[in-house]
Amino acid sequence: MSDIPERLDTDPLVSIRGLRFSRGGRPIFDGVDLDIPRGKVTAIMGPSGTGKTTLLRLIGGQLEPEAGSVHVDGQEVARLSRGALYALRKRMGMLFQSGALLTDLTVFDNVAFPLREHTDLPEPMIRDLVLMKLQAVGLRGARELMPSELSGGMARRIALARAIALDPMMIMYDEPFTGQDPISMGALVELIRLLNDALGLTSIIVSHDVKETAAISDYIYVISQGKVVGQGTPEALGQTDSAWVRQFMQGLPDGPVPFHYPAPDYAEDLLNHDA
């Protein structure tokens, strides 16, 4: 890519070098380098199953790279002691693809959970903080509901309120847009931008919703088959000359990015009856 030099940002919040990781013998990442600059919204895009969620787990220290390094705020995540890793995680919010709300707690208690676990704030102050976070995602009225009474889109927004409860330095959004109706989609897009700019956060969005993601991100990485295949600002990527990236950004079904999970030849597979 022509714009790589501009990316060699002096002090990125997250910096990944030569990352290799495989699952069940299949390489998921094979030499990935990327930087997440501070204070910006960075998107990581790629087809389903390329390992976007896996990448977030590597950044959060839930998985360890086989080779290469993941640095967050200057610290190498895989080398941290447990205490240091937990201290780092308090400063990272993560919005899970499924929401991952605690099903035995109400919406209110879910958002209050990180505050109660990590602070000794008095209850009235926790209440105010929780209501502020819920107000930010437009669901203050839903505070008494249980997670089973929420729609998928609502659950995602509650999870977002919970992710920002401790005022982290960075938020990782795993597929924030799936399951949102057009109105809450629009609100969510604005909210992510607003939170990023107003709270001075760093945001990482993992998504395959090209249009929405392009609309709010400052920089985009496209990952496919274990490698970064394209990167740049949304405008630059729109006019890229790489066939891979063009196919993905324009949503063309056929092209260099395969639609199929690796498999033996189709006709042979159908005829091979003893397998």
Binding site: Y86, R89, M94, F96, T103, F113, E117, H118
Partner: protein
């Protein structure tokens, strides 16, 4: 044939690996206990759902087991004219054996399966993983209070089972079949020993409580995070817990009453 041996080996190794994981898991759970002292609320909530909610099945079963013992014991003893000893027969069978064992089996079915399913589902729905990302250790926050609650509840439930069972035997023997009231209690008082009988029963129920709850929380935590994985973990909890209880019961009985 070769394939069979290979699979046998692979199965064996994976069982050992699992055993190792279970032991490491137990150490981490124990490390979570000090944190519980600071937050007794977590433990109390689990004592409620693991212990108090199991009370009903324990009381009802204890009553019926005691009544059956009263009836069977009476029918046997009356042939020898020894029906006065019914109290001792009922009390010893319940305090030494049936109390701890039947309570542990019921506890595995009622509370153990619920624990395994709950924890397994929390894993499958990424709740445990979500906690980790919020810098909260799920073993300390979720598993430790559940394990401790099971370990505390089981001996108490066994004691309740035994007490109710003895009254069940009393009801059938004394109230229905006419054994002498005073003889039922006084023979029991004379022949049941605090250390040999009651304490050994309590030790059994402590061991069973530890093992059953351990199996339940570990199976849940180690479950494959899908609906099928959770259902298999639940089944395994009950099956393994039943084997463990019956096997350990034999070992403990041999050690305690062997000579």
């Amino acid at each position: 044939m070769l394939e069979f041996i290979r699979q046998l080996g692979r199965g064996g190794i994976s069982q050992f690996a699992k055993l190792g994981r279970a032991n490491l898991f137990m150490l981490k759970v124990l490390a979570g206990f000090p944190g519980l002292l600071r937050r007794p609320g977590l433990l109390v909530a689990q004592l409620w759902s693991v212990g108090v909610l199991s009370l009903m099945i324990i009381v009802v079963s204890g009553l019926f087991v005691g009544m059956v013992l009263g009836l069977q014991g009476y029918n046997t003893l009356v042939d020898f004219g020894a029906e006065e000893s019914l109290g001792v027969a009922v009390a010893l069978s319940i305090v030494r054996e049936l109390g701890p064992v039947v309570t542990a089996l019921l506890f595995a079915g009622r509370a153990g399966s619920a624990l395994a399913a709950e924890i397994g589902l929390m894993k499958a729905t990424e709740q445990l993983s979500g906690m980790e990302m919020m810098a909260v250790d799920p073993i300390h926050r979720v598993i430790a209070p559940r394990f401790l609650a099971g370990f505390i509840s089981m001996p108490l439930l066994a004691a309740i089972f035994s007490a109710v069972g003895i009254y069940g035997g009393y009801f059938v023997g004394v109230a229905l079949l006419g054994v002498d009231d005073g003889a039922y209690w006084s023979q029991m008082q004379a022949k049941v020993d605090l250390f040999d009988d009651i304490l050994n029963g309590v030790i059994k129920s402590l061991v069973f409580g530890w093992v059953v709850t351990w199996i339940a929380v570990f199976e849940g935590y180690d479950a494959i995070p899908t609906s099928e994985g959770v259902s298999r973990a639940t089944t395994r909890t009950v099956v393994y817990a039943a084997f463990a209880v019956l096997g350990l019961d034999f070992v403990l009985t041999a050690l305690m009453f062997g000579d």
